[in-house]
Amino acid sequence: MTKKPNTSRLHIPEPPFRPGDTPDYSHISVPAEHTLAKPDTLCEGHETSQHALGLIRVLRFNGEAVGEWNPNLSEEQLLKALKDMMMTRAMDARMFTMQRQGKMSFYMKSTGEEAMSIGHAMALRSDDMVFPTYRQQGILISRGASIKEMMCQCLSNAGDPLDGKSIPVLYSFKKHGFFSISGNLGTQLIQGVGWAMANAYRDEDGIASVITGEGSTAEGDFHYALNFASTYRAPCIINVVNNQWAISSFQGIAMGEGQSFAARGTGYGLATLRVDGNDVLAVYAATAWAAERARRGGGATVIEHFTYRKEGHSTSDDPSKYRPEDEPDVWPFGDPIERLKAHMILLGLWDEDRHAEQEAACKKEIREIYKQAEAMGSLSGDTNVNDFTMFEQVYETPPRHLKDQIDMFKAEQD
C-alpha cells in the first residue's frame, strides 16, 4: 500500500525518523560550551528563561567536568552514583528477563535514564518527598530501599509490601520519601504541590519533587501543578523527564511548536532549567539549585531532563514498530553510565577492569536478591498472596457492605 499523504491544511507533527529511515540527530545541537550561568537561587523566575532553552551540562564526552554548574562531588559520591546507576540497570535487565519468563505480569525499564533518578535523588534530602513516575526506580536504589521488597512488589508475592494490589513497578515507600506511584499519568504532579504547600504551612523546610514524562505534560494536572505552585510559591521541583518518547508518540506530539518543556514554566513565572539528563552531574547540580531555591522560599523550579528512552516503553511494547532500531545508538548524548565512567577514569578514580568487575558484581547481587524474592512467590506459580487481602485498605475499616462481600467471597471459596 502506498502511504497516503496529508492533503489537508491540518498539521500533524511527525518524528524525523521512522523504521527504515537512517536516524541522524546532527540537527540537535550538543552544546560544547557550557555557557549557561548559575544564577542566585533566589533570582526572579524570569531570569532563568534562557535556561529553559539552553542545556545545562557538566560532563563533556571526553570525561571532563566543567563549568559553573559542576557540583564537584566527592569521590564517595561519584562511586555511589555510578554503583546505583549500575544496580538500577542490572535490576531492570534481570526483571525484564524474568517477566519474559512469566514470573510477573509486566515490567518497565529505565535504561538510559538512570542519571535522572540517581542524580536527582542524591541532590535531595532523603526526607524530601518525591512523586515519581514508573521510571525512577533509581531513586529508591539511591535511597537504600530494599531491592528485595521492590522485586517482591513486582512479583506480587508474599513479600510485596502492597500485598499484590498494584501492578509491577507502582511502588510505594513512604519511609524512603517515595510517594505511591499512580497508574494514572500526571495526577501526582498537583498532589506533590499540595504536599509541598503542607510543608510550607507547617514551616518545615522539606520540599516535594514531582516528576512527569514529557508526554504526560499534556494532562491538565501538569497545568494545575505549575499554576498552583506559582500562586502559592510551593516549595517543590517540577521535573519533566523528556525521554523523547511516550509509548509510540515522539515528543513533538506533546511539545507542538514549543521550544522546550522547561519553557512551559516561563509563562507561570517559575524558575526553569533544562539539563542534559544523561549527565548525572548536571542533573545533580540542577536539582541542588532548585532544591535550595525551594527551601529558601523562592518557590518552584521546572526542570526538563533531556534524555532518551533506550528500550521499549514496557514489556508490552516493541519500539521497532515505530522508530528505527538503531536510534538509541545514535542518540547524541550518549549513555549516562558511560559518561560518568569516562569522567571517573579521567579523574583516576576508576578503570575499565573495575568497571567490568562492578558490572558483574551488580549482576550477581541482583540475581541473588531476585532468587530470594522469587522464593516468596510469583505469577508463574503461586504468588502466595492471600486473596482476602483484596478487601483490605479500601477504607480504614470495612463498612458493612464490604464485610458482607467478604462473607460472600468466603462462601464462594467453599
Binding site: 494490589k165 499540595g194 504547600m197 477504607y395
Partner: protein, 338 residues
Amino acid sequence: MPQMNMIEAIRDALDVKMGQDKDVLVFGEDVGYFGGVFRCTAGLQEKHGLHRCFDTPISEGGIVGIAVGMAANGLRPVAEIQFADYIYPGYDQIASEAARLRYRSNGDFTAPLTIRTPVGGGIYGGTTHSQSPESLFTHIAGLKTVIPSNPYDAKGLLIQAIEDNDPVLFLEPKRLYNGPFDGDPHKPAVSWAKHELGDVPAGHYTVPFESARKVASGDDLTILCYGTMVWVAETSAKMMGVDADILDLRSLLPLDIDAIAESVKRTGRCLILHEATRTSGFGAELAAQVAEACFYSLEVPIFRVTGWDTPYPHAQEWAYFPGQRRVCGGIRTIMESQ
C-alpha cells in the same frame, strides 16, 4: 441552644475544627476573604488567618489535587467545590486518586480529606447549578458520600467527615441552606429559626455515618430519601394522610441498610426519592438493595420518584423537580397497588 441555618451550621463545624486542629485548612474558589458564594466560610479567614482559609484558582482538579497531597502529608484539608455541577474536572483526582491512594499503597499513604459542595435545584440554577451527582460517587470504592438535610446533621456530619480517616464527599442541598423546603415553590420561604433541627449545639459533636435518621414513624409505607427530598417526603406523606416511615439516609455510602431493611420488612412498601436524574441514580442502588434484603416482605413494587433523564432545565425547573405532585403520585401508586 444556638439557632443556626445550614450555612451557619456548616461554618460553625469548620470553625470548631479549625479551632481544635491546626491541621484543618479550608480552601476553594472565593472561600477566603469573601467567604464563599453561599457564605459558608464567611469570617473564617479573618478569624483563623489567611493561610488557613484561602482562595484557589478556578481549577477543581487542582483543588482536589492539592487536597490529596496535603492530606497525604498529614493535614485535614476541607476543599469547597463551588457547585457540584463543576466537580467533574476534579473527578479523576477524586475517583482515581483520593479514593484509591490508601488501597494502591496498601495503607502506606492515606487521603483524609473532605470535599464540600452544594447540590440540587430549586434556585433557578438551570443545567449547571442544580445537579445532584451523588450516584457517580457512590460507585467509587474508597470514598464516602454523605448529605445532610438540616443544620444539626450538617454540623455533626461535617465534623465527622473532617475527622474521618478516609476521603469524604459532603453534599450540601443548597435549597435547604436557609430553611426547610417542602417542594412548593409558591409558598413563602420558611427559615430554620422556627425549626428544632435549627437548634445546633455549640462546640464539638458528631453524627455518625451509616446511621439513617427516622423522620417519621409509620407502618403504611417506607420512604427512603435524603437532602431536600426529605422535606418533600414529609409534607407529601402528610398531604396523602399516610402513616409513612420516613428515613433520611444522611450517609449514602456507607449505607444504613439495617434501618432500611427493618422498615421495609415492616411496611412492605417502599418509595425511593431523589432529585437526580433517574437512570443509574442512587435510587437504583437503593431499589436493588431493598429488593435483595426485603424481597419476601415487599407487597408491591418499589417505586422510584426522581428527576427526569434530562439535564436540569431552567424555566421548567418545577416540572423537573420531583415535587409534591410527583411524590404524592408515587405514594398513591404504592398505596393503591396490591
